[in-house]
């Protein structure tokens, strides 16, 4: 029997994997993917709560988040392309022109 707790745990795990990815990986593309993973973990949480409560509003919120994830990816990739054109790499450790 798959219960709400299972879905929530899965979402929490996905979220944690995303967090670890952002913190540990140095390639900006992988970091972007990890952020997408975190957003999708949140979507899963919304969906499982909505299903558990038999409500539609939670499912509608997911559409907002999907649209937002697309907008975020657009901006992120644009910044990445600008950096790649200038530097030839997307490694965030190579970016250390600002002090600190």
């Amino acid at each position: 029997m798959i219960t709400l707790a299972h879905y929530l745990t899965l979402a929490a795990l996905l979220f944690s994997i995303g967090v670890v990815g952002v913190v540990l990986r140095r390639n900006a593309l992988i970091i972007l993917m990890s952020i997408e993973l975190m957003l999708n973990a949140v979507n899963l949480t919304f969906l499982s709560f909505a299903y558990y409560r038999q409500q539609l509003s939670g499912q509608v919120l997911v559409f907002f988040v999907i649209a937002l994830a697309a907008a975020e990816a657009t901006v992120g990739l644009a910044i990445l392309v600008a950096i790649f054109k200038k530097q030839g790499t997307v490694d965030v450790d190579e970016l250390r022109f600002l002090r600190g």
């Binding site: 995303g18 967090v19 957003l39 709560f49 919120l61 937002l68 910044i79 250390r96 600002l98 002090r99």
Partner: protein
């Protein structure tokens, strides 16, 4: 469907007109740049300034007549309109500041202006959001515009680096915020602030308390990033340094105001829950933020980094006010009014200080080292005097708006019984005097260095003068503004 037709659309349009107008202006600017190949920064600037003045006046009229109204997703009360006024003034000054920068850096002015407008629409959505998801979308609209603006210095890697860092950390924080919202949805079955406010977990056995505590923790982490509270402040100095200076001013003043608006609404909506240790958490957050912000600022030799750490410290002072406002669960209007007053004061003096930094820049080069300010009193007495006033105001010297702001803020904290926190805040202000005086000493007691300053453009001069006048005038006669701030928070709705 029934609900949709019950909405009074005319009233809604009337109340939300500032947002609608700003969004419309932004989109028509983008269309202009698509249909007319020639960029006309001066015409755009003129039209925008007039439009914003009109919107400012309209918002002020709304502030005067508004009857608090909450409509499913948006709410309209004096608190939200007063914050709208702050960000509109910020927008006005920032547009004046960036007039020189858009012509020098080869960026199309219409795009930059449109992004500023969209960011302000996002901020207004935050102020008027009656639902966590609206607040979140507002934060995202604001943040996405700021990411692009941060990276808008064409071909300059430092600007791109700042944009990248801001983007990664900003979206990371947004994910935390969103996860917090999802968990809150799990507890209440709704994301509206009203349902959070009427929530009670008196006899709870279903683990909802655990969920809600986690949700609040995630929300606080996400919002902590946005207001740059320690320990989530690490992006701020780098981003402030790399971004074009007018954009830095915009982020330091406007983005922080809006993020504080979100924090205040959420914290006040959930503040009544005894299961969550609000006071200790906010106490520690504010003590850490002001102390570390000030101590690290002592070592900075770069004016934008110095101002960045000082803005972290100011977030700490504001958190003192938030803590005090929460302690008086009856929503003491003097304490909350102090927070609103300080937000306005902080925005003005920060805009002014960054405005002087913009004015020092020359032919696309930005002048940012403290040593570049040597002897400014002889090279350009007006700029030197203006920067001195802004820095004194940030340090909280009497007869400036910064002093009045700190006075109201700390008075509220004392009233709520936070003696320890107030003493810490005052000690911090004393420490901050040391680093605020460093540029002043350089300007007045060291021989001039560097090139002759070119004559300042009129918009820049107007912006700096406007900030200078307001900082001094409201520093000497603060009571009217404080009364207005108190009025704003009297009838807070959720």
């Amino acid at each position: 469907m029934e609900k949709l037709f019950n909405t009074d659309w005319n009233l809604l349009l009337q109340l939300a007109l500032p947002m609608v107008l700003l969004a419309g202006l932004g989109m028509s600017l983008l269309l202009c740049s698509a249909f007319f190949p020639r960029d006309r920064p001066k015409i755009f600037l003129g039209v925008l300034l007039l439009a914003i003045l009109g919107i400012l006046f309209y918002t002020w009229m709304q502030w005067r007549v508004v009857v608090p109204l909450s409509q499913e997703m948006l709410l309209f009360d004096r608190f939200s309109y007063s914050l709208d006024l702050i960000v509109l003034v910020t927008l006005l000054i920032v547009l004046l500041l960036c007039s020189k920068y858009v012509s020098a850096e080869g960026t199309r002015s219409s795009e930059v202006y449109a992004l500023f407008l969209f960011a302000v629409v996002g901020m207004m959505l935050i102020h008027h959001g009656a639902d966590l998801i609206v607040i979140f979308l507002g934060i995202e609209i604001m943040s996405l515009s700021s990411y692009i603006l941060t990276g808008s210095r064409r071909g300059i890697i430092r600007s791109y680096e700042a944009a990248m860092k801001y983007f990664i950390l900003g979206s990371f924080a947004s994910c935390f915020l969103l996860y917090g919202i999802a968990l809150a949805y799990g507890v209440t079955g709704s994301t509206s602030l009203a349902s959070l406010q009427s929530l009670s977990l008196a006899a709870d056995t279903s683990g909802n308390t655990v969920l809600l505590t986690m949700s609040v923790a995630f929300l606080l982490v996400g919002l902590g990033f946005k207001i740059a509270a320690v320990p989530f402040h690490l992006w701020a100095p780098d981003v402030y340094e790399g971004a074009p200076t007018p954009v830095t001013a915009f982020m330091a003043a406007g983005v922080k105001t809006a993020a504080f608006a979100a924090l205040l609404r959420i914290v006040l909506a959930l503040g009544h829950l005894p299961q969550i240790p609000w006071i200790p958490v906010l106490w520690i957050l504010s003590a850490l933020t002001m102390t570390i912000g000030n101590l690290v600022a002592l070592r900075q030799t770069h004016i934008k980094r110095l101002l960045a750490y000082s803005s972290v410290a100011h977030a700490g002072y504001l958190l003192v006010g938030v803590t005090a406002a929460l302690q008086n669960n009856t929503l003491s209007d003097a304490t909350l009014g102090g927070v609103v007053f300080y937000l306005f004061a902080y925005s003005l003096m920060t805009l002014g200080a960054f405005g002087v930094v913009v004015a020092m820049g020359h032919r696309g080069e930005q002048v940012e080292e403290l040593s570049d300010f040597s002897g400014l009193s002889q090279r350009h007495p007006f700029l030197a005097a203006a920067l001195t006033v802004f820095l004194l105001s940030m340090a909280g010297i009497p007869a400036t708006i910064g002093f009045a702001g700190k006075f109201y803020l700390f008075a509220g904290a004392v009233e709520a019984g936070f003696y320890g926190l107030t003493i810490l805040a005052v000690l911090n202000s004393v420490i901050s005097v040391y680093y605020y005086f460093a540029p002043i000493i350089k300007m007045y007691f060291q021989p001039p260095r560097g090139y002759e300053l070119p004559p300042l453009s009129y918009p820049l001069l107007a912006a700096v003068f406007l900030c200078l006048f307001t900082v001094l005038y409201l520093g000497i006669f603060p009571s009217d503004l404080f009364l207005m701030a108190r009025e704003s928070v009297k009838e807070l709705i959720f």
